[in-house]
């Protein structure tokens, strides 16, 4: 019995530590996302060269989507192998389609 309670206690402590860690990550990513948004808005209002601004905006957007999926929608947790496979499959098909339109049709 004593051992059991002990193990439950360690388990509980482990879970608590893990949750704390996760909370920290979420706060950090949330802060980062706000910073990214501010950067994006300032870059647009600052009237910089379009060729410079647009790629950076795209990169920031992709990173934000990653944060959203992995830290807020818990895709980093176990058991998401199949959803991520489907997700990346869909993304690559969509990417190919957009690439085609850009380089084969409009360019």
């Amino acid at each position: 019995m004593v051992e059991n309670t002990n193990s439950t206690n360690t388990n509980l402590e482990y879970k608590r530590a893990k949750r704390k860690e996760e909370m920290k990550q979420q706060v950090v990513t949330f802060a980062l996302m706000i910073v990214f948004t501010i950067i994006a808005f300032t870059m647009v209002t600052a009237d910089l060269d379009k060729l410079f601004v647009i790629p950076i905006l795209l990169v920031l957007a992709i990173v934000q989507v990653g944060f959203q999926l992995y830290y807020f929608m818990h895709m980093s947790h176990k058991g998401h192998e199949m959803p991520s496979l489907m997700f990346y499959g869909g993304v690559s098909v969509a990417f190919l389609t957009i690439l085609t339109m850009l380089v084969l049709v409009w360019w």
Binding site: M86, G89, G90, V93, T97, T100, V105, W106
Partner: protein, 618 residues
């Protein structure tokens, strides 16, 4: 719970049962009837094409009508015959093969079928309402955007509705196969037909949205005055070709992969050996699915994409021959040294291997971009894709129907008639299409309604038409076989072929709930493992308990009917805005049915374990 015991019912009750059913086995029968009906329709169109081309400058049909027949033959055969017949087999077999009591979303399964059927009816209603679509099954812009009348509008709306049904069915099978496999059935223990269905469902999920988008753009161009494909308004007609083939090329793999799966079930069963190179087969299936998305532009070599793009797509296309070759060799090795029984299902599988290999070989030929400039839009292409689609998919459907008929209907299709079907259809098929390779090389263009007398094309076309009649005879004998077997055939046991996979562990007739106890899977070919260890059936993975089953519902039918009505409204509102009322009424019916579905709780019903041995749900 005597109400769950099926009794002899009147016609009305049976009809209502099928209109409301969410049972995957009954939906399979519905898909079979729907797909079979459209297969006959597409076949009649094919016969009209061949009769028109039997002699030079024939006038059996007019040029305009020929365009309509040709368009509808392609569209019907791909979307309304081949796809639903494949879905019929998937629905009949997949839940049984993975040890599940139904699919993951039985309601959506029913919705998928009714959307397909109403989409197909809408498309074919165009025959009676001023002319069918006439821009080819590919509906290239600007031919499709400028085609007069409402034909192409019916194409757009009909395919949009039935395409939604296909998308729903694909998602349903994905979730079913991921989540509902019996205990012990890991991914690498799934039968090959389940594997191919799984990969195909993923292809449907990724490919059909491209068609949906393309059809929406075409709809806006035709019905609402936009200019996506109109160069004079800043659009670009090549966008349609890309969108169509980004969908269209995976589509042909969506058709052929399940056929591969069927042969991978039939050949081991009738060779009494496990499938040779199972792991390689799975790998090849996944690889074909993956590569299938990177080759669409080989349909567009002559568009002028430039040498770089053409080279990339040519090499990617040729690469697909590698996994397909792996499969062909594995089927041959499966039979090698086996104790082979040759019956009708096996005959179709044996006929498939050389036929499909010829189609694959011409495929590599047309994949060579410079040579394709010669083959493009000639009868060589027609011969090529009929070799892969008839020689692959249709042979696969026939093999699957003969193989699983005892599981679906409890009786074995007559073997003599089956063999007559095979030999007439097989001979007719090669007569019809082999000669078309040479007609194409001699310069006969595809899709033309007639040809001149002095071009040396007469003999080839006569042979081709004779072959088409043989195929028609084969199909008629098959229909006769179905009728005579239904009337006179004897009931067989649940395992008439000495099968290897889970579906053959179920008694005949299959109970409503499939498995009294979910079986425990201990390896590939689970039933065969139990047989070799001297057991009669599967080891159960759970005690006998109450079985939870979904309730029937008429809502899928109503939702699809609503979209069908709305389709007419959308098509005719361009003539007279009053038709917008029909559009709104149709959408209202659909949204109303969706609202009822959302607010009404439906938790299904339980079959209590005390009633199981009294025959509940049989």
């Amino acid at each position: 719970m005597s109400t769950t015991i099926e009794q002899n019912k009147g016609f009305g009750a049976t009809l209502w049962d099928y209109l409301t059913t969410v049972d995957h086995k009954k939906i399979a029968v519905l898909y079979l009837i729907g797909g079979g009906f459209f297969f006959i329709l597409g076949g009649l169109e094919a016969m009209a094409i061949r009769i028109q081309l039997i002699k030079p400058a024939n006038d059996f049909v007019s040029a305009g009508f020929y365009n309509e027949i040709l368009t509808m033959h392609g569209t019907t055969m791909i979307f309304l015959a081949a796809m639903p017949l494949i879905f019929a087999l998937m629905n009949a077999v997949i839940p049984l093969q993975i040890g599940a009591r139904d699919v993951a979303f039985p309601f959506l399964n029913s919705l998928g079928f009714w959307l397909f059927l109403f989409g197909g009816i809408l498309l074919n209603a165009s025959w009676f309402l001023g002319g069918a679509p006439d821009a080819g099954w590919t509906a290239y812009a600007p031919l499709s955007t400028t085609s007069p009348g409402h034909g192409v509008d019916f194409y757009v709306l009909g395919l949009q509705i039935s395409g939604a049904g296909t998308l729903i069915a694909g998602i349903n099978f994905l979730v079913t196969i991921i989540n509902m496999r019996a205990p012990g059935m890991t991914y690498m223990r799934m039968p090959l037909f389940t594997w191919t269905t799984f990969v195909v469902s993923a292809l449907i999920l990724f490919a059909f949205p491209a068609l949906t988008v393309g059809l929406f753009l075409l709809m806006f161009d035709r019905l609402f005055g936009s200019g996506f494909f109109d160069a004079s308004m800043g659009g670009n007609s090549v966008i349609w070709e890309h969108l169509f083939w980004i969908f269209g090329h995976p589509e042909v793999y969506i058709l052929i992969l399940p056929a591969f799966g069927i042969f991978s079930e039939v050949l081991p069963t009738f060779s009494k050996k496990r499938l040779f190179g199972y792991t390689a087969m799975v790998f090849a299936t996944v690889l074909i699915g993956f590569l299938g998305f990177m080759v669409w532009a080989h349909h567009m070599f002559t568009v002028g994409l430039g040498p770089a793009a053409n080279s990339i797509f040519a090499i990617a296309t040729m690469a697909i021959a590698v996994p397909t070759g792996i499969k062909i060799f594995n089927w041959l090795f499966t039979m090698w040294g086996g104790s082979i029984r040759i019956n009708t299902a096996m005959l179709w599988a044996l006929g498939f291997i050389p036929s499909f290999t010829i189609g694959g070989m011409t495929g590599v030929m047309v994949a060579a971009a410079p040579a394709d400039y010669q083959y493009h839009d000639s009868y060589f292409i027609v011969a090529h894709f009929h070799y892969v689609i008839v020689g692959g998919v249709v042979f696969g459907i026939f093999a699957g129907l003969h193989y699983w008929w005892p599981k679906m209907f409890g009786k074995i299709l007559d073997e003599t008639l089956g063999k007559i079907t095979f030999w007439t259809f097989f001979t007719g098929f090669h007569l019809t299409f082999f000669i078309q390779h040479f007609l194409g090389l001699m310069g006969m263009p595809r899709r033309y309604w007639t040809y001149g007398a002095d071009q040396g094309l007469e003999l080839g076309n006569v042979i081709s038409t004779v072959g088409a009649f043989l195929m028609a005879i084969g199909a008629i004998v098959f229909l006769y076989n179905v009728i005579i077997t239904t009337i006179k055939g004897d009931k067989v046991s649940g395992d008439p072929w000495d099968g290897r996979t889970l579906e053959w562990s179920i008694p005949n007739p299959t109970p409503h709930y499939n498995f009294t106890q979910i079986p425990l899977v201990r390896g590939l070919d689970p039933l065969w493992i139990e047989k070799t260890e001297g057991r009669k059936g599967m080891t159960p993975a759970e005690p006998i308990g109450d079985i939870h089953m979904p309730n029937p519902s008429i809502l899928p039918f109503v939702m699809s009917l609503g979209l069908f009505i709305a389709g007419f409204g959308a098509i005719y509102q361009i003539d007279n805005p009053i038709w917008l009322v029909v559009l709104i009424i149709g959408m209202g019916i659909t949204f109303g049915a969706m609202f009822i579905r959302s607010v009404k709780d439906d938790h299904g019903h339980h079959i209590h374990k005390e009633d199981l041995d009294k025959g509940a749900g049989l």
